[in-house]
Symmetry: C2
Subunit: 225 residues, 2 copies
């Protein structure tokens, strides 16, 4: 009797990673750029998202998925006030979004006519880093008042980034923030990381970030053709 | 045959809660006040702790347990520079401390001669709220640049507080922060919560907070006699 070959299945990815591929395909098929925005609470995720939408309006249409640990629609309301669709996800206390919630969020958005979906992840520098959502671009918003030592303390989230936005630059004169020390930490974890310094509430620096984003949107659209 | 009585055990507390009682007893027996400091990354936990130690020195001796997700001793080094003992706990990526880590941290501190142990929890507004450490006082440090909507978004952590410190008060002139709106949110979740406005890096407001803490230290010592 010939030895029977036993199939060996290696656990290459977990369920979340698996589902994130489905989400990615859904976005790709629709020619939509998916952007995952992460930050500490109060670093200015919503302010950056609002300023970005305004900078790209009316040419680019943006849908927003808002993650929160509580059932509040404070952020989503600000997005719909600009005439863009928004979905609120209440994680029920969980410290991050995952591919399941992302998938459910997308199902609630009419993707027709959208060019980009921005996900506002839960305000947290730890948990969101471990959960792939299927988006194309991982963005972290750091902020000046948080202090210059954050890359050294929250290494995992910095390692996985495609873009870093440094917000609240206007507060630099009032805060002891060593930009060299901060950037040195970032460079150690993520060499050559694309970085945009901004003050979102005043719109300063948003133009460059929005232009970069627009080039990615055009790129994504061309792939879907 | 008489019906046998079946013992019913209700799961009243989980393992972490159970262990936190042991930690609490250890602190009580030593007459040491345990203070758990929670905050978003960069709200100023370390700055408040350093200012507090300075305000209470040399009469009160403080040990500090520093929680971080990465193996960095940036914060612990600042404490030992003041001549107080510090222990660094690396959670290995976990978003909070728990009673096990707290117990291990205490084991590394010489409790003889200490009046207070301050725990600097991991920078996070979600996870730490769910894990009892056995400390006596839960403190949250909110900060002005985080924005005035945080109590509405991170309800669980506000509900469990004994004290709220509002840090970076000196940035109020440069930031659109509605103090009434903020305090209304806090009041809904935790009526009558003791609150100290401070600017830790300048020492402003620390005196009142330190005096309150000192009264609690005296109280705790008198219980151990």
């Amino acid at each position: 009797m010939a030895t029977q070959r036993v199939p060996i299945i290696e656990r290459i990815m977990d369920a979340n990673d698996q589902l994130s591929l489905t989400v990615r395909k859904q976005l790709d098929d629709a020619g939509i750029l998916g952007v995952n925005i992460m930050a500490s609470p109060g670093a200015g995720k919503t302010s950056v998202i609002l300023a970005t939408i305004k900078a790209l309006m009316p040419e680019i249409r943006v849908g927003v998925i808002e993650g929160d640990t509580a059932p509040v629609t404070i952020d989503a309301d600000k997005v719909t006030a600009l005439g863009m669709p928004a979905v609120q996800i209440n994680t029920g206390g969980d410290c991050h979004l995952d591919a399941v919630m992302m998938s459910q969020g997308l199902a609630q958005l009419d993707l027709t006519g959208l060019d980009m979906v921005i996900v506002e992840n839960v305000g947290n520098l730890i948990c969101p880093a471990a959960f792939n959502l299927g988006t194309h671009i991982n963005v972290l918003i750091a902020s000046i008042p948080e202090g210059d030592d954050k890359p050294y303390k929250y290494t995992n989230i910095y390692r996985g980034l495609d873009v870093l936005i440094i917000n609240k630059i206007d507060l630099l004169p009032y805060i002891d923030f060593r930009m060299d020390y901060f950037k040195q930490g970032v460079e150690l974890l993520n060499p050559g990381l694309i970085t945009f310094p901004v003050t979102a509430t005043k719109g300063d620096g948003i133009e460059a970030w929005a232009a970069w984003l627009k080039s990615k949107i055009v790129e994504q659209k061309s792939k879907a053709l």
